[in-house]
């Protein structure tokens, strides 16, 4: 991968990642993540 391509990929990923986080916060996904994380996840522990 050339230096120029690396720089473009980095910048692109940084912008994309930040944009996704902002969009997720705007869509109120944080509440959904929190709601799942504070209850015992029955799937995770193998109960269903």
């Amino acid at each position: 991968m050339s230096a120029r391509a690396r720089l473009c990929a980095r910048l692109g990923a940084l912008v994309l990642g930040s944009g996704f986080v902002a969009l997720g916060i705007w869509r109120n996904e944080v509440t959904e993540v929190f709601a799942k994380a504070v209850r015992i996840c029955l799937e995770c522990i193998g109960i269903g």
Binding site: I25, K36, I45, G46, I47
Partner: protein, 295 residues
């Protein structure tokens, strides 16, 4: 000489891994009472595969959260979780796998058991490594969003049927500490314990077998390894081609040709083993032309 350096590096890395495992699972009261943490820090995803139902977990598991949002009725995809992982990935790449992941630490410790080790033949190994991308696509992204009931609710397929970290960090301690949960266990629990046992046995004989073949988070971070800010380089002029770096690599990477390979977990063993100090690691913001990789 390089053996001393390797040992010293191994001790430092183990200390860092233990420190992060304790940091991500620092809610000691949970282990006492068989309950989980419910504070605000669980709004944030940790960068590693760490079950949010572990009694000590202080943050949310990104793979679990991604499925939970997709399986919910409101959204079929989580931009918040993917964005967080893209940011972690572009900065650190798979350094997270090598130094931060508690389940990686478990596998590293299992591999230290003094039993014969299995060296996977190159061809099947290369094919099996692709399986983790299928796990990411099918079990984490597609099935939770697509296989839904009439109310639009799906399942966390990876957590439910595969995730050995959930069984180890959440399932076993919670069912041991909580009588009510223990009474609810059935066939699915046995299946998940079976998967965990298979991964544990595999990790004793094949280094980081879960990371190599199954981990969806490792699959996602691997996409960033080639251009992440944290990168490694080999100085071709000082390298004497002794092959010590290849010999100590736990992920069987061809270090001299592909040091920024998607499979490299950035454990740094190659750097510690190099007798001529030809391997360097750095956080690089603006790429330099001389660090371009061989094609």
């Amino acid at each position: 000489m390089h053996r001393d350096r390797l040992k010293r590096h191994g001790r430092i890395r183990l200390a860092v891994q233990l420190g992060f495992a304790a940091l991500f699972n620092g809610y000691a009261a949970g282990f006492k009472g068989g309950r989980i943490f419910t504070g605000d820090s669980k709004k944030l995803c940790v960068p590693v595969l760490n079950c949010y139902s572990c009694p000590g977990a202080l943050g949310a598991c990104p793979i679990g959260s991604m499925q939970a949002v997709a399986a919910g009725a409101r959204h079929s995809f989580s931009f918040y979780v993917l964005g967080t992982l893209v940011l972690f990935g572009v900065i650190f790449g798979r350094l997270i796998c090598g130094f931060l992941c508690p389940f990686g630490l478990v596998q590293d410790l299992l591999y230290k058991l003094p039993l014969p080790k299995l060296k996977m033949p190159r061809k099947p190994d290369r094919v099996l490594r692709l399986f983790k991308y299928a796990v990411l696509a099918v079990f984490v992204l597609i099935l939770p969003a697509a296989a839904v009931n009439k109310y639009g609710l799906g399942d966390s397929w990876f957590c439910k049927y595969i995730c050995p970290a959930g069984t180890l960090e959440g399932g076993l301690p919670l069912t041991a500490l909580n009588e009510q949960l223990r009474q609810l266990t059935g066939t699915l629990f046995l299946w998940k314990v079976g998967v965990l046992c298979a991964v544990v046995i595999g990790a004793v004989f094949i280094h980081r077998c879960f990371c190599r073949y199954l981990c969806p988070l490792g699959a996602l971070y691997s996409l960033f390894n080639r251009f992440a800010l944290y990168r490694m380089d080999v100085d071709e002029h000082s390298c004497v081609g002794c092959g010590k770096c290849d010999a100590v690599c736990p992920m069987a990477v061809d270090v001299r040709k592909q040091i920024n390979s998607a499979e490299c977990i950035r454990c740094g063993r190659c750097k510690a083993a190099c007798p001529t100090k030809s391997i360097t690691s750095m956080i690089e913001f603006i790429p330099k032309k001389q660090t371009e990789e061989k094609k």
